[in-house]
């Protein structure tokens, strides 16, 4: 694939402004970066940015200022400062993701909240008879567990049915995913049903793969799927996000994972339609009915400071060569480099080719570790945290009937993967520590069954 297409067709040309090019004097040095993340626990190989993200010290300082402003005179802040501050954040996001209008952009706590908003709406349509019972929601089997539970709570409960598409993994090309998805859509439409909603991850969580989201959305349109919700929890700060190009009806991404916001804040994009979209925040305030962005801007007394620091985050990322794009590219390149280093050291594989990775990579674990269940994976993760000060999530891959599996250099079947993340604060030593920890376990013939 050509280099500029490696992000699944994201082209280099966008309508939004190029990041301000920082003068050399303004660029952050290596020691500046370490200082920004000096509140991280030292001595831990923190190679799991994907789960909880990170927030640099200067953004935490900006957050504290907002908090103090509110505490100083909360009434005045509520009447004069809050809305304006939230609008400034929303404008930054609108520009960043190439949305048409700031009215399409709401700020919510996290992707989990956005899922509830979409699924509550779908649930209402079933309950109020607008959809037929048995109409379907299609999603990938590895959709985030909270999203699956949300579907259970709001859709299954009112008679909607679901179709899960199995994500091929390890995966070698976008085409494998596209074929599986097409089959899933066919199942969803079988017997005259309508696929009311397709939920597509932009970047799946576990196992972690960058999905061909533009193609998948296109297929949804071709096949008459009514609405498409892209769960892009990991996307912003990992991969270029152009919501018009992607073309979904709903798109959510967390800003605290890869975009340096404090916990927690996400943007939720809802494409403007000609008809009333009827999405509402589930925590109903006096702003009910004024549109989701306004409803979300006041859900009762809360600390809204994570939502207010987005402009400060832009200042932070623009102190890096290439701004957020530069950060993303370097994270990707380093993550792949470290992934290949580990795969070579362990004689295993990557879960997906480099162009289907972001700042996270799945690497197969040696079969000799004998990871045979989710519990084993959890035990291994705990061992690494407690005994080796390595924080990394472990994924157990159960083989299904008829599947051959991928073999490692010892000709054993690979049944588990680690998901490494690479963010600004990581160093090569972090991944070397993981490499050595695993190698030592194998050398000492320790398996998951006899971990200390």
């Amino acid at each position: 694939m050509a280099a500029d297409e490696r992000r699944n067709g994201d082209s280099a040309s966008h309508n939004h402004r190029a990041p301000k090019k920082p003068r050399l004097a303004e660029l952050l040095t290596e020691s500046d970066i370490q200082s920004e993340f000096s509140h991280h626990q030292t001595g831990v190989a923190r190679i799991n940015n994907g789960s909880f993200g990170c927030c640099p010290g200067s953004v935490l300082d900006a957050q504290r200022e907002w908090q103090l402003r509110y505490l100083r005179q909360p009434d005045e802040f509520y009447f004069n400062g809050l809305r304006r501050g939230l609008l400034a954040s929303r404008n930054v996001i609108t520009d960043l993701i190439n949305a048409d209008h700031v009215d399409e952009v709401s700020l919510v706590d996290n992707a989990t909240t956005a899922a509830a908003i979409v699924l509550q709406k779908i649930g209402r349509c079933f309950a109020e008879g607008e959809y037929q019972k048995e109409d379907t929601v299609v999603m990938f089997h590895c959709a985030f567990q909270s999203v699956k539970k949300s579907i259970q709570a709001y859709v299954s409960r009112v008679g909607g049915s679901t179709v899960e598409v199995r994500l091929p993994f390890p995966v070698n090309s976008n085409q494998e995913i596209i074929s599986a998805f097409r089959q899933g859509l066919e199942k969803g439409r079988a017997n005259g049903r309508t696929v009311r909603l397709a939920i597509i991850d932009h970047i799946t969580s576990m196992p972690c793969v960058l999905m061909p989201v533009r193609e998948l959305v296109k297929i949804c349109r071709e096949e008459g799927v009514e609405q498409v919700f892209v769960d892009a929890a990991h996307a912003i700060g990992s991969v270029k996000v152009d919501v018009k190009e992607i073309g979904a009806d709903y798109y959510v991404s967390n800003l605290h994972k890869w975009f340096f916001c404090p916990p927690s804040v996400a943007f939720f994009y809802c494409k403007k339609h000609s008809s009333e979209s009827d999405v509402h925040h589930p925590v109903v305030s006096h702003e009910f009915g004024n549109g989701l962005p306004i409803e979300s801007a006041w859900i009762g007394t809360r600390d809204y400071s994570p939502q207010l620091v987005v402009p400060s985050v832009m200042d932070f990322v623009n102190r890096f060569e290439g701004g957020i794009e530069g950060i993303m590219n370097r994270n990707h390149d380093e993550a792949v480099r470290m992934g290949l280093m580990l795969a070579n050291a362990w004689g295993t594989n990557l879960g997906s080719p480099p162009e289907m990775c972001v700042g996270m990579v799945m690497i197969g674990l040696p079969s000799k570790l004998c990871v045979e269940s989710d519990e084993d994976a959890t035990k291994l993760r705990l061992y690494l945290r407690v005994h080796r000060s390595v924080e990394v999530p472990v994924y157990f891959l159960a083989l299904r009937d008829g599947e051959e599996g991928v073999k490692d250099k010892d000709s054993g079947i690979i049944t588990a993967y680690v998901r490494i993340s690479r963010q600004l604060y990581n160093k090569t030593e972090d991944y070397e520590r993981l490499r050595d920890a695993i190698n030592e376990l194998v050398k000492d013939q320790i398996t998951c069954q006899n971990l200390p």
């Binding site: 509140h39 991280h40 626990q41 030292t42 001595g43 831990v44 923190r46 799991n48 789960s51 909880f52 993200g53 990170c54 935490l60 103090l68 509110y70 505490l71 100083r72 005179q73 909360p74 009434d75 005045e76 509520y78 009447f79 706590d109 996290n110 989990t112 909240t113 899922a115 509830a116 699924l119 509550q120 209402r124 309950a127 567990q145 909270s146 539970k149 259970q152 709570a153 009112v158 605290h256 404090p262 916990p263 927690s264 509402h280 589930p282 925590v283 109903v284 305030s285 006096h286 702003e287 009910f288 009915g289 859900i299 009762g300 007394t301 809360r302 600390d303 945290r385 000060s389 924080e391």
Partner: protein
């Protein structure tokens, strides 16, 4: 009377928890296995001479804008700096190593907060106590459950939900979004204002319930404020709950946003099915944290409540669902046990604070009434730490938009923060009082704050000020 843990017990258990936390250490190979020592509130158990002093109180609230007469604690509450500092510790603990915090610390620490609240409110089981962001969220949880019952046919379309006309604006919208939309009928009970006695409220409520039951309908939910917001009055909640039981109301939900730290909050005495109160208003928590109490029935079952933000904890009970609603900053919820130690630095603990707040607000209310020649919105025994005071009629308060502009004017011109209520005149009234300020008293307030309000209004009266003169 709520049965609080005696101060000694609360402090002892707090210190016990402190000693179990990680102690500071760092080994020579650079691997820090533990968290840094967390600064404790430095005061030991107070003897009578060791109660918090005035200057210490000032210091605790020195982050407030000191230019302002901040006499509106009711809206957004307050948080002392020692609690803010502990909150920051919790935030840093998560940021330091979030995975470990999530897997090892978060759940047990939230459980601790729930246990503290359970004791404070005299609930039977920890299970009955869930922690949520605010009363607005609690309302969505309860009303969503009601909506499901309508949708799933357990309630008949047209069955009623009864609430007070003075219910909080957000709650009314929540009722519209969940109840009306799913087919429930909403009955609003008009209450008199100004209020002369609790009996007035009880009678009106009884009548309201009767209309709810007209034509063979069932009243499925009664939604009652413990302390109404605007205009603010303490509702005789125990009596109203009793009436609900007598009249066969299915469920009673008490919205006590101004509950804990303001009025006596005793779940067993009050007897409601659901009860919610913010802790950041009158219980010194940082923004924002509230509890939702859900009574377990005698056979141990609980109503099927769910947090609307569904996570992987769905189905594990509301308390567990609420303890994980996706990645969030849970620090306001984690700091609750520390707040107990803070309030116990005051004589009489939270009860002492409540009592003194009440006495002060009544005193200030009378002072204003005497100066302005107006009246209180309710008798002193029907207020807690907030009271409504009539504004002079000559100011010409005549609309909702008037009072907003007047409020802005008082803020900008006099640096006074005070909410104002427009009370529409009733038929036949001659020269009624149409504007009431709602003054609040919390530990950081001083009489000077209210003198400033007194003088500002008197100045406006002297200058012949009219609300209609305020620009659009």
């Amino acid at each position: 009377m709520a049965s609080l843990s005696p101060p000694e017990e609360a402090a002892a258990s707090y210190h016990h928890r402190q000693s179990k936390r990680y102690s500071s250490s760092s080994s020579s190979n650079g691997v820090e296995s533990d968290f840094p020592k967390r600064p404790k509130i430095s005061h030991p158990l107070p003897q009578s001479s060791n109660f918090i002093s005035s200057s210490e109180i000032e210091s605790e609230f020195s982050h407030h804008d000191l230019v302002f007469a901040r006499i509106n604690n009711g809206s957004f509450g307050c948080c002392p700096s020692s609690i803010l500092s502990l909150q920051r510790d919790w935030q840093l603990r998560f940021l330091r190593q979030p995975d470990r915090f999530y897997f090892e610390d978060l759940k047990p620490k939230i459980s601790e907060s729930r246990t503290v609240i359970k004791r404070l409110i005299n609930a039977e089981h920890d299970d009955e106590v869930s922690i949520v962001d605010n009363a607005t969220t609690a309302a969505a949880i309860v009303l969503q459950q009601t909506a499901w019952a309508f949708r799933e046919g357990r309630f008949e379309k047209g069955d009623a939900v009864v609430m007070l006309h003075y219910a909080y604006g957000s709650v009314k919208k929540s009722v519209e979004a969940y109840v009306t939309r799913s087919g429930g009928q909403v009955i609003e009970v008009q209450l008199p204002f100004p209020v002369v006695s609790a009996d007035e409220i009880i009678d009106r409520f009884r009548n309201g319930l009767e209309s709810g039951k007209a034509n063979g309908r069932r009243v499925r939910l009664a939604l009652i404020d413990h302390v109404t917001s605007m205009p603010s009055v303490v509702i005789p909640i125990k009596e109203l709950v009793k009436i609900c039981r007598e009249e066969g109301v299915d469920q009673v939900f008490v919205d006590a946003a101004h509950g804990i730290g303001c009025v006596d909050v005793d779940m067993k005495e009050i007897g409601a099915d659901f009860y919610t109160s913010n802790l950041h208003k009158w219980f010194f928590a940082p923004p924002s944290v509230a509890f939702l109490y859900c009574r377990k029935s005698n056979n141990g079952t609980a109503p099927d409540l769910h947090h609307p933000v569904v996570s992987n904890e769905y189905g594990n009970g509301l308390a567990i669902e609420s303890s994980w609603v996706g990645t969030r900053d849970y620090s306001a919820q984690l700091v609750v046990p520390s707040i107990l130690e803070f309030v116990n630095r005051f004589e009489g603990g939270i009860d002492g604070i409540k009592k003194r707040n009440h006495e002060s607000i009544v005193e200030m209310g009378h002072m204003l009434v005497n100066s302005w020649g107006t009246q209180l919105g309710c008798p002193p025994e029907m207020c807690a730490s907030m009271i409504m005071v009539g504004l002079p009629v000559c100011l010409g308060v005549s609309s909702e938009s008037n009072v907003l502009k007047l409020r802005t004017f008082l803020r900008e011109r006099f640096s006074i923060e005070i909410p104002i209520y427009f009370r529409p005149p009733a038929d036949g009234e001659i020269d009624p009082i149409t504007g009431y300020v709602r003054i609040s008293f919390q530990v950081y307030n001083k009489p000077e704050d209210y003198h400033r309000l007194r003088d500002a209004i008197n100045e406006l009266v002297r200058d012949g000020f009219r609300c209609t003169s305020l620009s659009c």
